[in-house]
Amino acid sequence: MPEYMTLIGGRSSKQGTALCQGKLEADYLEVTSVVEMNVEDMARLGIVNEGRVRLRTPGGESILRCKGRETKDLPPGILFMAYGPLSSELMTGDTAGTGMPLSKNLQVEVEPVPDDA
């Protein structure tokens, strides 16, 4: 049974300072390849801190490193990641006639990725 969660894309300080160095530099690619997840959700899905997780939408999929956040900071069922090339993979081109694709409140299928995969 696939597990679905709500992905919120957004900005972070680290992403902002890293993009000043350049979007092809290691710091930017690093900060945009991490997804934050509630620690209880991680335990339930058997994902360790810094473990890999696959997110999938009808638009595409990305494999990211998972970082745990306490429930007081990030509720169960909610994911957060900084905008970047890997969040783009998950967005569809549909803008509902507004010009704006959805990049927050995305329903994503979540699947742990074994280390040897």
């Binding site: 709500t6 919120i8 894309g9 957004g10 900005r11 972070s12 300080s13 902002g16 300072t17 000043c20 160095q21 350049g22 979007k23 092809l24 638009g59 595409g60 007081k72 900071d73 990030l74 509720p75 909610i78 957060f80 905008y83 970047g84 090339p85 969040s87 783009s88 993979e89 967005m91 569809t92 081109g93 549909d94 803008t95 509902a96 006639g97 507004t98 010009g99 704006m100 694709p101 959805l102 990049s103 927050k104 409140n105």
Partner: protein
């Protein structure tokens, strides 16, 4: 550090829409680098530190090093021969460069759009239907005693919005600064901004519109069922308390971010918030303003509006401007595979657009202008290296509250400005086309192509 040091007082930071113009820069003129940026936030310090002079080709054509002049010729040929070219970006360059970009779009009968379409574009749509009761950041600093941040994280995206304008500074009618203000934050998750707030409303994702509409109803004295909490995550008592504070404050402000525009509801969310601010003016003075991301995205809105009558998503293929989000906005045009060439200025859509849009960018000739190597630059047919606005280039940028500010550059760059490259492209395209491309008007009735 050398002895050849220059100090630039009142320099302007163009990293974000705060466009702070009280930065004191210390510049090493020998190494062409900024060694200190007094008053800047963490983002501003990184902006100034990381924009020294890098050894990069002036232009790349198909990955081959080329001169700026060769790049201009190739770019002009692409634009002059395209049937449906698009010009996009513009939020991190001067108003002077933006103006030339719109002129090129007019000449080639193309489409011109800015990063506003994937930022506060939905708010731009909402402004047209709901209006905007607003104020400058100076008024907010001096008068606001209730500040509500909705769907944003200024601590990480606009740090000095708190310290310079909306939370801690002392103002004419808020002489005790933070003590005289009530700060409310509305978001779907706790962020580094949350501890700044006196009241935090954690709404369920996708329920901003319902919360805003409930607040409107309560402001008008209508009854709201307690089940609102199950739908939105916010109790009726909390909403009633907020409404009481909103109606009794002296000067209230709603500062809203992309937590409203990039989620379900889009322009309806922004419109509900703008209508709430207007409703509250029956009881007190209340304003609303979008918090803008890029340093001159507000300038792009202004230049587009004064040149074409519309803020973004404008098509000029009929010889006159047409505005239609969803039809003439860049994500849509690229995702549908409609455009056959792209001129991207000071933006990196290949790093943040949806995958189908990026896939089409890879299929068409792209011309890009940027001080840094970018993912868009890497897929471009022609990639120009240009000087950084505000650090190497003088000109005008608009703060997020539509106040234009003069940029005071720190040191010269060996690379041309965006304006210089665009002006050269415009001249060469004019030569190739012999003036403006003839407008393609509607065919007479009964005539088919």
């Amino acid at each position: 550090m050398s002895d050849n040091i220059r100090t630039v007082p009142d320099a302007t930071c163009t990293f974000c829409g705060c466009v702070c113009d009280d930065i004191v820069l210390t510049v090493d003129m020998d190494s062409h680098s900024i060694t200190k940026s007094q008053n800047a936030c963490v983002l501003g310090k990184a902006w100034f530190k990381e924009h020294g002079i890098e050894e990069r080709p002036r232009a790349l054509i198909g990955g081959r090093e080329a001169s700026t002049e060769e790049g201009v010729e190739e770019a002009a040929q692409i634009l002059a021969n395209a049937r449906f070219p698009i010009i996009y970006g513009l939020s991190d360059t001067t108003c002077e460069a933006q103006r030339v970009a719109v002129a090129i779009a007019d000449m080639i009968g193309g489409n011109v759009d800015t990063t506003t379409s994937v930022c506060h574009g939905p708010s731009g749509i909402a402004f047209q239907s709901a209006g905007e009761s607003t104020a400058s950041l100076g008024e907010i600093r001096n008068r606001a005693d209730l500040v509500i941040f909705w769907g944003g994280n200024p601590a990480e995206a606009h740090p000095r919005l708190f310290t310079r304008y909306a939370v801690t500074p002392k103002g004419m009618y808020v002489p005790n600064g933070r003590k005289d203000r009530t700060i409310v934050l509305v978001d779907v998750r706790r962020t580094p901004s949350t501890p700044v707030a006196d009241i935090f409303l954690q709404v369920k994702p996708g329920s901003d519109f319902e919360v805003l509409w409930a607040l409107r109803a309560l402001v008008k004295g209508r009854r709201i069922d307690a089940s609102i909490e199950q739908r939105t995550g916010v109790s009726l008592a909390v909403l009633q308390d907020l409404v009481a504070r909103m109606k009794s404050c002296r000067f209230g402000v709603l500062l809203f971010g992309m937590g409203l525009t990039m989620t379900r509801g889009r322009h309806f969310n922004s419109g509900a918030l703008l209508a709430l601010a207007t409703d509250l003016n029956e009881f007190t003075h209340f304003v609303a303003a979008p918090v803008r991301g890029h340093g001159n995205v507000t300038g792009a809105d202004n230049v587009m509006s004064w040149q074409t009558g519309f803020p973004f998503g404008v098509n000029l293929s009929r010889g006159y401007p047409r505005f239609n989000p969803g039809e003439f906005t860049t994500v849509d045009l690229l995702s549908r595979g409609e455009v056959d060439a792209a001129l991207i200025i000071a933006s990196d859509p290949a790093s943040n657009f949806p995958k189908p849009a990026i896939e089409h960018l890879k299929r068409i000739p792209v011309i890009s202008l940027d001080p840094k190597a970018t993912i868009t630059g890497a897929l471009s047919r022609v990639a120009f290296t240009t000087a950084t606005y505000g650090i190497n280039v003088a000109g005008t940028a608009y703060r997020m509250d539509n106040v234009p500010l003069t940029l005071r550059p720190a040191f010269d760059s060996p690379y041309p400005s965006d304006e210089e490259v665009l002006t050269a492209i415009r001249s060469r395209v004019r030569e190739l086309l012999g003036g403006n491309r003839l407008p393609v008007g509607p065919l007479p009735a009964g005539k088919a192509t």
